[in-house]
């Protein structure tokens, strides 16, 4: 029995995602109508009261962000960040594929409230199939008169750069083609796209807004479950109600691990999130509880790995990914990450030297303090949590050179 609330994904699979009539019949655009009769201050207060936090991973209070834009009292832009580049995260894809109108409604509410000039959806290049569909549906909504006067929404596609999910890099990618982060402050809420205040929210954040305006609150979250679970996919869960253990094993969600293998660890929030180990998996999945345990929910991705995976090899893969995706602007991230990747590779190939684990730990600490933007800081999360909880496995690799099956490690070139 599914006792879960279904707010964000309501209509998924039941209604035609491209039909405005079907969306309206299911209660769509009622929030937008309400908002057009409300004062901006009231809308923002309502969002603040809901306590909703940014769903892209940074967990910044949404109402506060909107208020900051409003207070600037200038022409402004809104941007929907759909550059979902985290491996393990595919919830935004689900929203844009099945209920794109809810996301658009959220954006339009923002446009009315903040009297924005123009809206953008920055879609990752890998979701090219959604691109045409989105353009069509936006034109339809506009033709039906739901847009504020003079407002338009433009869809921009990326071309495969993880860094463009970082808000300042995203702005620079729209402005001049290349996504390079810039120093904050000034934050995009002060000086964003083309120098004007810019509201950048995640796809899921915008999808939360209609529900909040309809008085349904914002206590559900999308999770993207993948890896060694029988039933993978995107689910909407009530926060603070389930533990990660429940999500893996419950028949509503994961339906247990593949072949019944014991779970070794779980990565939350995609590659830049921290690892969670079986001894922590009873903690309720919610912002407060997880924060107390030093873990972030991040984007909502939950990727499950069984005992076959070596944690050292896993960390190596993650760091190699970020080494490739580093934009190269700051040396901390560019050189630091490739150095750690080199050391981890050495450990994985049975060529570790004494002190390698210490070295990795030290450099990871430096990167997390000194990296220019969130990419570098996020990249080492995996190492920090792995070293905190499973340091012995790294030390075994360092000492015992034959620990790794070389055949297996040689899989990646």
């Amino acid at each position: 029995m599914n006792t879960n609330k279904n707010i964000l994904l309501r209509g998924r699979g039941d209604i035609d995602p491209l039909s405005i009539q079907a969306y309206v019949a299911a209660g769509g655009f009622t929030a937008l109508r309400k908002v057009s009769e409300m004062k901006a201050q009231e809308v923002i207060e309502k969002i603040m009261a809901s306590g909703v936090k940014g769903r892209g991973g940074a967990e910044y209070p949404v109402g506060k962000k909107w208020l900051l834009i409003k207070q600037e009292n200038k022409e402004n832009y809104i941007v929907c960040n759909a550059d979902e580049g985290e491996a393990g995260a595919f919830k935004d894809r689900e929203l844009l594929t099945y209920v794109p109108l809810r996301v658009i409604e959220g954006m339009l509410i923002a446009a009315y409230t903040l009297t924005s000039k123009k809206g953008y959806i920055y879609l990752r290049g890998e979701y090219l199939k959604i691109y045409e569909m989105l353009k069509n549906i936006i034109a339809k909504v506009k033709n039906n008169g739901y847009f504020p006067k003079g407002f338009e929404i433009e869809v921009i596609v990326g071309a495969g750069a993880y860094i463009c999910g970082e808000e300042t890099a995203l702005i620079s990618s729209i402005e001049n083609g290349i996504g390079e982060p810039s120093l904050k402050p000034p934050y995009p809420t002060q000086r964003g796209l083309y120098g004007l205040p810019t509201l950048i929210n995640n796809v899921e954040t915008f999808a939360c807004i209609p529900g909040i305006m309809n008085g349904e609150g914002a206590d559900t979250k999308l999770i993207a479950l993948s890896g060694m679970v029988r039933n993978r996919g995107v689910f909407e869960i009530s926060l603070d109600r389930y533990s990660v253990d429940d999500m893996i094993n419950s028949n509503q969600f994961g339906k247990g691990s593949v072949n019944g293998e014991a779970v070794q660890f779980v990565q939350l929030g995609g590659q830049s999130g921290s690892l969670m180990f079986p001894e922590q998996m009873h903690i309720p999945y919610g912002y407060k509880w997880m924060r107390m345990a030093g873990i972030g929910i991040g984007s909502g991705a939950i990727t499950v790995y069984s005992g076959r995976v070596s944690i050292v090899e896993y960390c190596r893969n993650v760091i190699e990914f970020f080494t490739m995706e580093s934009c190269g602007k700051c040396s901390t991230c560019r050189i630091g990450l490739s150095y750690i990747a080199y050391l981890l590779n050495r450990l994985c190939c049975g060529n570790g030297n004494e002190g390698d684990v210490e070295r990795i730990d030290a450099v990871a600490g430096q990167i997390s303090q000194l990296a220019f933007c969130g990419l570098g800081k996020g990249a080492v999360n995996v190492l920090c949590s792995a070293l905190r909880h499973r340091r012995e496995q790294f030390l075994i690799c360092e000492k015992d050179r034959s620990y790794f099956d070389k055949e297996l490690s040689g899989r990646y070139i």
Binding site: E126, L128, G177, N317, C327
Partner: protein
């Protein structure tokens, strides 16, 4: 595919938005419809004229993003999702199977120029991993059997093309 004329390219640029903001979708569309799967000097010059970006900037952009090719492509480029949920989240070692089926490693092209292997970052399809991408299509829940029949089909399609 044959080479595009200047007017055809212009039409593609306009259809993809035409302005500076849409530089990425313009370049992606041009790459897709090009003969060799990459953007040549002439095309870069045209894009520069029409968007106002300098030639150097456009070259920079092509180097910056993973989805732009730097060299000529094989007929079928098989992109293996290398992210952890795909490569370690399930039992199948897709890369290993493809190496043995095609006799090439990542970055190489088969002798007949039909297939090449590449790694790609997360395809955003972790719910059906392991996945590979060929052209615009994603293939998920892969097993050895599926890969074998997929490659056989692609080979068949190419030989039909050759007969035409």
């Amino acid at each position: 595919m044959r080479a595009l004329s200047r007017d055809e390219k212009k039409r593609i640029i306009k259809a993809s938005g035409g302005s500076k903001e849409h530089i990425l979708s313009i370049l992606l569309a041009l790459q897709k419809s090009s003969e060799q799967g990459l953007i040549d000097e002439d095309t870069i010059r045209l894009v520069s004229e029409m968007t106002g970006f300098t030639i150097l900037r456009i070259k920079e952009i092509i180097h910056f993003y993973a989805m732009f090719n730097q060299s000529q492509e094989a007929c079928h480029v098989i992109k293996i999702c290398r992210s952890n949920p795909c490569s370690l989240g399930r039992e199948e070692d897709i890369a290993g199977i493809l190496f043995s089926l095609l006799g090439i490693k990542v970055g190489e092209v088969t002798e007949d120029g039909q297939f090449s292997l590449k790694y790609m970052p997360c395809a955003g399809a972790c719910d059906i991993g392991p996945v590979v991408q060929i052209g615009d299509e994603l293939y998920g829940d892969l097993t050895r059997e599926k890969l074998e029949s997929m490659i056989a089909q692609l080979n068949l399609a190419s030989s039909k093309e050759a007969v035409k």
